[in-house]
C-alpha cells in the first residue's frame, strides 16, 4: 500500500492532520504499555521468544494496526471495491502491468546496487519489450518471452549489504515494515526518475495520481488473500507479522532455499520438536 497516504493527503489534508494527532496520542499510550510487555530476564525461554518475534513495541504496533484496519474499512476497501466492480479483470491486470513497468528504473537501480547483473539485464529487457511491444507496459509481453518479473527495492539492497532489519514496525496506512524497509521506501521514492521529472516540471499531480492508483492496485492484488487470511486466522495481526517477515527474508534471498529452516520433527523419527526443544528452533532463526 505504498504511499497511499500521500494520495489521500493530496485530497484531504485536514483529515490527515487530525489522524496524525490521533496517532500521536496512541503512540504515547501504547509506548507506555509496550514497556510492560517485556518478559522477565530470569525466564530464558520467554526472552528467546521475545527476541525471535522481534516486536518490542507490539502493543503500539497493534494500535496502529487497528487504525489501519479502520482506514481500510472506511476508505481503501470501498474504493477498491468500486474499482473491482467497474474494471474487468483484463483492465485491472493491464493497470497492474503498467505500474510495474514504471517501477523498472528503481528495480534496475537496486539490481545493480546488489551486484545482480543478470537480473539487471532482465530488468532492462523487460522494460524495453514491455514499453514497446507491451504497449506502454499494459501487457507483460516480456514474461511470455522468458523474462520473468522480479521485485527489488532498497530495503532488500540494505539487507544484502548486511544492514540489520531492526524491530518490526507497523506503519500507519503503509502496513507492516521495519526501520530497514522504511528507509528503503524513502530511498526508492527519491531515486525514482519519474518522481524527479514530475517535480522538475511542476507535474506533482502525476506522482500523487500514481501513488493513489498504486495503492488501489495493491489493495486489489491483496483482496482475496487478505479476505482469506482474516477469515482463517485466530490472531490476524500475528499472522501478518509472521508472513511479512518470512516473505521479506525470501525476497532478500531471491527465492533461494535457506540452509536449515525450522520445521516440525517427524513423530516416528529420532528428532522431534519436544526432544530438540523449541529453544533450539528459536535460536536457529
Amino acid at each position: 500500500m505504498d504511499g497511499l497516504s500521500k494520495g489521500l493527503k493530496a485530497k484531504k489534508p485536514i483529515q490527515i492532520k487530525s489522524i496524525f494527532k490521533r496517532i500521536a496520542v496512541l503512540m504515547v499510550v501504547a509506548f507506555m504499555a509496550a514497556c510492560a510487555s517485556a518478559p522477565p530476564a530470569d525466564d530464558p525461554e520467554s526472552v528467546a521468544e521475545f527476541k525471535q518475534i522481534n516486536d518490542p513495541i507490539e502493543p503500539f504496533n497493534r494500535a496502529i494496526f487497528g487504525f489501519n484496519q479502520g482506514v481500510d474499512k472506511a476508505v481503501i476497501k470501498p474504493i477498491t471495491g468500486v474499482y473491482r466492480t467497474i474494471a474487468p479483470d483484463p483492465v485491472r491486470r493491464g493497470v497492474h502491468n503498467f505500474l510495474g513497468n514504471l517501477r523498472a528504473p528503481v528495480i534496475l537501480f537496486n539490481d545493480i546496487m546488489q551486484g545482480e547483473m543478470e537480473r539487471a539485464g532482465t530488468t532492462i529487457m523487460r522494460f524495453l519489450i514491455n514499453s514497446t511491444v507491451g504497449i506502454l507496459g499494459f501487457r507483460d509481453q516480456a514474461a511470455e518471452w522468458g523474462y520473468a518479473p522480479h521485485r527489488e527495492d532498497f530495503g532488500q539492497t540494505l539487507a544484502v549489504w548486511s544492514v540489520p532489519e531492526g524491530p518490526y514496525v507497523m506503519l500507519p496506512v503503509l502496513g507492516p515494515s521495519n526501520p530497514r524497509d522504511a528507509v528503503g521506501i524513502v530511498v526508492d521514492f527519491l531515486i525514482d526518475p519519474l518522481n524527479w521529472w514530475a517535480s522538475n516540471t511542476d507535474r506533482e499531480y502525476i506522482t500523487y495520481t500514481r501513488t493513489a492508483v498504486s495503492g488501489i492496485d495493491t489493495r486489489d492484488q491483496l483482496w482475496d488473500v487478505l479476505e482469506d487470511l482474516e477469515r482463517s486466522s485466530i490472531d490476524y495481526y500475528a499472522a501478518i507479522r509472521s508472513l511479512y517477515r518470512q516473505r521479506r527474508a525470501d525476497e532478500i534471498r531471491n527465492g533461494a532455499t535457506p540452509g536449515e529452516p525450522p520445521a516440525p520433527g517427524f513423530t516416528g523419527s529420532v528428532k522431534t520438536a519436544a526432544q530438540t526443544g523449541p529453544l533450539t528452533d528459536l535460536s536457529a532463526r
Binding site: 505504498d2 525461554e45 521468544e49 518475534i53 491486470r93 507483460d140 514474461a143 511470455e144 520473468a148 518479473p149 521485485r151 530495503g155 507492516p176 515494515s177 524497509d181 495493491t218 492484488q221 491483496l222 482475496d224 488473500v225 487478505l226 482469506d228 487470511l229 477469515r231 482463517s232 486466522s233 485466530i234 490472531d235 495481526y237 500475528a238 499472522a239 507479522r241 509472521s242 508472513l243 511479512y244 518470512q246 516473505r247 521479506r248 527474508a249 525470501d250 534471498r253 527465492g255 532455499t257 540452509g259 536449515e260 529452516p261 525450522p262 520445521a263 516440525p264 520433527g265 517427524f266 513423530t267 516416528g268 523419527s269 528428532k271 522431534t272 520438536a273 526443544g277 523449541p278 528452533d281
Partner: protein
C-alpha cells in the same frame, strides 16, 4: 514488498492439494525419491477427489481430512506449532488441542479447493535439508507468466513418508501458525486453554458458514 507476499498465501490454497503430476527429476537417495513419490501420488488423489465443483462441502471436507491424515504428520506438526507450550500442557489439553488443530486446518483449507481454476502443478526437483527432503514444485497459470513456488518438506521413519511442512514462496505454513498460536497463548496469560478456546470458537464460526 507486502504486495507479493500475500498472493503466496492464496497460492497455498490451490497448492496444498491441487497438484498436477509433473516431470520428475532424477532423485538421489531413498528419502528424496520416496518424498517425491508421496507428493506425486497425493497430487493424483487430490485431482480426483477435491477439485470437482459438483461435490458438496461436506464431501470435500471429508476427502480433505482423509488426505491430510494419510499424507501429513498431523501430530508432529501440531506439536511443533504449539512450541514450548507443548511441554507445559496437560495430557487432556494436548489431546483437545490436537483435535481442534486438525479441525482448524481441515476447515480452513478444504474450502479453498472449491475455487480451483485450472492451475497446473509440476514437481521441479528435490533437495535435502537437514534430515528431511524438500520437494520443490511450481504452480503456474495464476496470471501472465506468474509462477508460484511451493516446497514440501518430507520426513521419513521406517520407510513411511510424511509431509511436515508446506512452504509457499518462502512462507512456511507451520512457522506462521506457530507464531500465531504462541501469540494467542501469550495474550491469554500463557495458558494453552486460551488457544484451545480460540480454536474452538473459530471452528464453530467456520462450521456455520
Amino acid at each position: 514488498m507486502f504486495k507479493r507476499g500475500f498472493p503466496s498465501v492464496v497460492a497455498v490454497v490451490f497448492a496444498v492439494f491441487v497438484l498436477w503430476p509433473g516431470q520428475s527429476s532424477a532423485a538421489g537417495g531413498d528419502l528424496s525419491a520416496g518424498a517425491q513419490k508421496l507428493i506425486q501420488s497425493m497430487a493424483d488423489e487430490a485431482i480426483d477427489s477435491l477439485i470437482d465443483k459438483n461435490i458438496s462441502a461436506e464431501q470435500r471436507e471429508k476427502e480433505f481430512r482423509r488426505l491430510f491424515r494419510t499424507n501429513f504428520d498431523v501430530d508432529a506438526i501440531g506439536k511443533w506449532v504449539l512450541g514450548r507450550y507443548w511441554r507445559t500442557a496437560t495430557e487432556t489439553e494436548r489431546r483437545e488441542y490436537l483435535a481442534q488443530f486438525e479441525e482448524f486446518v481441515v476447515k480452513t483449507y478444504a474450502k479453498r479447493f472449491r475455487d480451483y481454476s485450472g492451475e497446473v502443478f509440476s514437481i521441479t526437483n528435490t533437495s535435502m535439508v537437514d534430515d528431511s527432503a524438500l520437494v520443490h514444485s511450481e504452480l503456474t497459470g495464476h496470471g501472465e507468466g506468474q509462477i508460484v513456488r511451493v516446497d514440501w518438506r518430507v520426513a521419513s521413519a521406517d520407510s513411511t513418508y510424511k509431509i511436515i511442512d508446506v512452504i509457499v514462496e518462502g512462507v512456511s505454513m507451520s512457522q506462521t501458525q506457530r507464531s500465531e498460536f504462541s501469540s494467542v497463548i501469550r495474550r491469554n496469560g500463557g495458558k494453552v486453554t486460551g488457544l484451545i478456546d480460540a480454536l474452538r470458537k473459530k471452528n464453530a464460526i467456520l462450521n456455520g458458514r
